[in-house]
């Protein structure tokens, strides 16, 4: 098992499964197309989430919205770190670019929601081009350092130009209004959840297709061995830049959605701690895996509340109970990494394999080898 913070050869990608079998269990040829499959996935999820959001309380809807914008950023980062093998400590800053773009366009220019969010994606992706190009020349700690500078430096711009960015006070926009055909009982929180989830599903759709395309395979090749990849004719730098740009666009959308849901873009939301929590979420959820990003998003939203509730239920002195949530948060993260070194998704997958192996053993088949012994990126 290799360390996960610095992915290298041997870090399991999203796609390793034991026994790359050539048997086709189902004759459903349609399901074999990535496009159709991802479309089906998104449609099913959209229906399920729409139904679920209606059954949830307003605050849970809001949490769903928080989770969805975190997913957008996390999924992009997960693909960057887990698949193309680059690390970024600067994704909080890329979210800030999307957030401020959205706030400026909706608040000052009166743009409608969708074009403003598209602009958020484009602006973050544009910033991602030079950063990604620079990043593709850097390795390991140097890459981390360069992106760290972005995370520290960029939010400070808001305070440097308080006239444009509102300084510490931030930029405030009006809440989105649910369309009237949804009825008057349709809550604002549910509408915010829908907007945010729609963004998350688009990210899911795009990344799912990219990951399972030639580009995704090239990323894995570059991650596992740059020299071998370039000998095969892959342009390593270009592939890494592309990964960074796509990932930056996802972060931008996440930031834009954050602005829409909170009706606020303020620098305190995009401090270094956000970049670090994003990386934490990605690693803890499961590197390089879209399911892992779902886990990561759920954790980023729920864990702070749980730790706060826990430390306040202990009836300690206020000085201790005010600070305990942060300590508990840390302990939970450490414990989770010890229990699931490949992230939660890795744990779930291992559990799934365990079950399947046992079934296979019982039915007399040969036992599957542990998935982590397989090198990454052996798809097909």
């Amino acid at each position: 098992m290799t360390t996960l913070a610095q992915p290298g050869p041997g870090v399991p990608g999203p796609d390793e499964q034991p026994l790359p079998s050539t048997r086709l269990t189902l004759g459903n040829r349609l399901l074999r197309s990535t496009l159709v499959r991802s479309l089906l996935l998104v449609v099913v999820l959209a229906v399920v989430l729409a139904l679920v959001s209606g059954a949830l309380s307003s605050y849970r809807d809001l949490q769903l919205a928080y989770g969805a914008y975190f997913f957008a950023a996390l999924a992009g980062l997960s693909v960057l770190v887990g698949l193309s093998g680059q690390v970024s400590l600067g994704h909080g800053a890329l979210m800030a670019i999307g957030a401020y773009t959205t706030a400026l366009l909706i608040g000052n220019e009166g743009w409608p929601l969708v074009p403003a969010l598209l602009a958020a994606v484009v602006s973050s992706a544009l910033v991602g081009i030079p950063v990604g190009a620079a990043a593709s020349r850097l390795r390991g700690p140097y890459l981390a350092g360069a992106t760290l500078a972005l995370a520290v430096g960029l939010p400070a711009l808001a305070n440097k130009f308080p006239g444009t960015f509102g300084g510490e006070n931030g930029l405030v926009i009006n809440p989105p209004t649910p369309p009237s055909f949804l009825g008057s009982s349709f809550s604002l929180e549910r509408w915010e959840a829908w907007i945010s989830l729609a963004g998350a599903l688009i990210v899911l759709f795009v990344l799912y297709n990219v990951v399972h395309s030639g580009v995704g395979r090239s990323w894995r090749a570059v991650r596992d061995d740059e020299i071998a990849a370039s000998l095969c004719g892959l342009r390593v730098g270009r592939m890494q830049t592309l990964a960074f740009v796509i990932s930056a666009g996802c972060a931008g959308l996440g930031g834009g959605l954050l602005t829409v849901v909170n009706q606020l873009a303020a620098p305190t939301a995009f401090q270094l701690s956000l970049s670090l929590s994003l990386l934490t979420g990605v690693v803890l959820g499961g590197l390089g895996s879209l399911s892992g990003a779902v886990w990561g998003a759920a954790l980023l939203v729920l864990l702070p509340n749980w730790t706060t509730d826990l430390s306040h239920s202990l009836s300690l002195s206020t000085n201790v109970s005010d600070n305990l949530p942060f300590a508990v948060y840390g302990v939970v993260l450490v414990a989770a990494m010890l229990v699931w070194p490949t992230g939660i998704q890795g744990g779930v997958r291992a559990a799934g394999h365990g079950l399947r192996n046992r079934r296979r053993m019982r039915s007399g088949g040969q036992g599957a080898e542990s998935q982590s012994s397989k090198p990454g990126g052996e798809e097909r």
């Binding site: 999203p14 499964q17 079998s21 050539t22 086709l24 189902l26 399901l31 074999r32 990535t34 499959r37 089906l40 996935l41 099913v44 999820l45 399920v48 989430l49 679920v52 949830l56 309380s57 605050y59 849970r60 809001l62 949490q63 769903l64 989770g67 305070n159 308080p162 300084g167 510490e168 006070n169 931030g170 405030v172 809440p175 929180e189 899911l204 799912y208 909170n262 009706q263 606020l264 303020a266 620098p267 305190t268 939301a269 401090q271 399911s291 892992g292 779902v294 886990w295 759920a298 939203v301 729920l302 509340n305 002195s317 206020t318 005010d322 949530p325 942060f326 998704q345 779930v348 097909r380």
Partner: protein, 436 residues
């Protein structure tokens, strides 16, 4: 193509499903069915957002627990109309985005009756819109931003402490009278708090006298550029609209620069116990905090916490001893108790059949005549939601604050006169709980 690809799509679905389940598991405590949320015949629940950690935490984190202590005291004496007052305190770390999150949680999940004493200008401004459109009473914001004072567009929101422009005007008048012709510098937090105070100063002090105005952003770790500029401007007087941590950083920076102007500090930034403690911490024990802020000029609208002969301070110290003894008794604790006292007055005035509208009406109708720990009258009317209407000058002496001179009232408009208030302060009720 291998067989496992559809399984991957399934795994995403499973993850979404399980994550939703995890979220739903905790949702059992949200019981939104009640007609009037947060109030029952035996209880009433308020929520508040406070900087329990983060840059504004030193000193300010004591405020809500002190309010809680006062409510505990009232509850021990039977509550208000038989209702025990509960306060749900959420930590927003003085981060506006967190404030939006926790206030939604308080309203939508904890089903609070209203928000009480939400702390901070950059923070609370982000939830005023939500609270007013949802018709949630938003009482006695712990900030002196002039922006709370707008009864017609924000009927639910009420300020409590004197707004920063009123405070700035009174400080400005004092400067005009006692430091005439001297160079004055202003260090201010670059938001509605600092800008409001600066506006008040500028309304009174001739602009030629203000040689430099230095803003800082909350969250910064150094004030060296600002303090260097202030020192080189040659100002003899430094006016500060700063929260305690930046009062301490500014003072320490001035000290290391060998610069010792007369300090004039907003009442929110100079609680001597808090600032002296911070100075000691920030200087790693090298500086004596009391000495560094000795002689600083400030103001107050409550009796000084160090005036232990005042019956209100005696009352608050007694309650503090009983319910909140882990914190030091300082200006922040006094603030929390006095604000809680005002909320109890409002609940008494709203009557037995408590509704959200009744509470808001009670403050608008009766608030202007409430007497209590404040030494100045409230400015509550149907359209004015601004809180205390004046201050009295004060000076830091050692670990104490000594008030001096007349009690002054004014309103925030630049031309409005500053007048002396002689209404006096009544003694607290015998049991310490406002009568109905």
């Amino acid at each position: 193509m291998s067989q496992h690809q559809p399984r991957r799509a399934l795994s995403v679905m499973t993850a979404v499903g399980l994550a939703l389940l995890a979220a739903a598991c905790g949702s059992s405590n949200s019981s939104g069915g009640s007609a009037a949320p947060g109030v029952t015949p035996t209880s009433i629940t308020f929520g508040t957002h406070q900087p329990l950690t983060g840059p504004a935490a030193p000193g300010y984190s004591e405020i809500a627990p002190a309010s809680q202590a006062f409510f505990d005291y009232v509850n021990a004496h039977g509550g208000v109309f038989g209702r025990k007052i509960h306060l749900v305190i959420k930590n927003d770390q003085y981060d506006p985005t967190q404030t939006v999150n926790v206030v939604h949680q308080l309203v939508l999940q904890n089903n609070v009756f209203g928000i009480f004493e939400g702390l901070g200008t950059p923070t609370h401004t982000k939830v005023v819109g939500f609270l007013n459109s949802s018709k949630i009473p938003d009482l006695f914001v712990a900030s002196g931003c002039p922006c709370w004072d707008n009864g017609s567009s924000q009927p639910e929101t009420f300020g409590w402490q004197p707004n920063y422009t009123i405070e700035g005007k009174v400080l400005g008048q004092y400067l005009k009278q006692h430091f005439a012709g001297q160079k004055i510098a202003v260090l201010y937090q670059d938001d509605d708090f600092g800008q409001g105070g600066l506006k008040g100063i500028q309304a009174e002090v001739p602009s030629s006298q203000i040689v430099t105005k230095q803003p800082y952003q909350s969250g910064t770790t150094t004030l060296a550029p600002q303090m260097t500029a202030i020192k080189s401007s040659g100002a003899k007087v430094l006016v500060m609209f700063t929260v305690p941590i930046y009062t301490a950083i500014a003072r320490l920076t001035a000290f290391t620069l060998g610069y010792s102007p007369q300090l004039v500090v907003s009442n929110v930034g100079i609680d001597p116990i808090t600032v002296a403690g911070l100075l000691k911490t920030v200087s790693k024990g090298k500086a004596s905090g009391d000495a560094l802020i000795n002689g600083a000029i400030t103001d107050g609208y409550l009796p000084s916490f160090s005036d232990t002969s005042n019956p209100w301070i005696k009352l608050f110290m007694k309650i503090h001893q009983q319910y909140d003894s882990s914190a030091p008794f300082d200006g922040n604790v006094e603030y929390g108790m006095a604000n809680a006292y005002t909320l109890v007055q409002a609940l008494q005035a709203a009557g037995k059949n408590l509704t959200r509208q009744a509470l808001v009406n009670a403050v608008e109708t009766h608030g202007g005549s409430w007497k209590g720990p404040g030494i100045v009258p409230f400015r509550y009317t149907k359209t004015q939601h601004g809180g205390y209407g004046g201050v009295q000058m004060a000076k830091v002496v050692g670990a104490k604050i000594n008030t001096f001179g007349p009690v002054l009232t004014t309103d925030p408009t630049p031309g409005a006169a500053i007048s002396t208030y002689s209404g006096g302060q009544p003694a607290p009720p015998a049991n310490g709980i406002p009568s109905q």
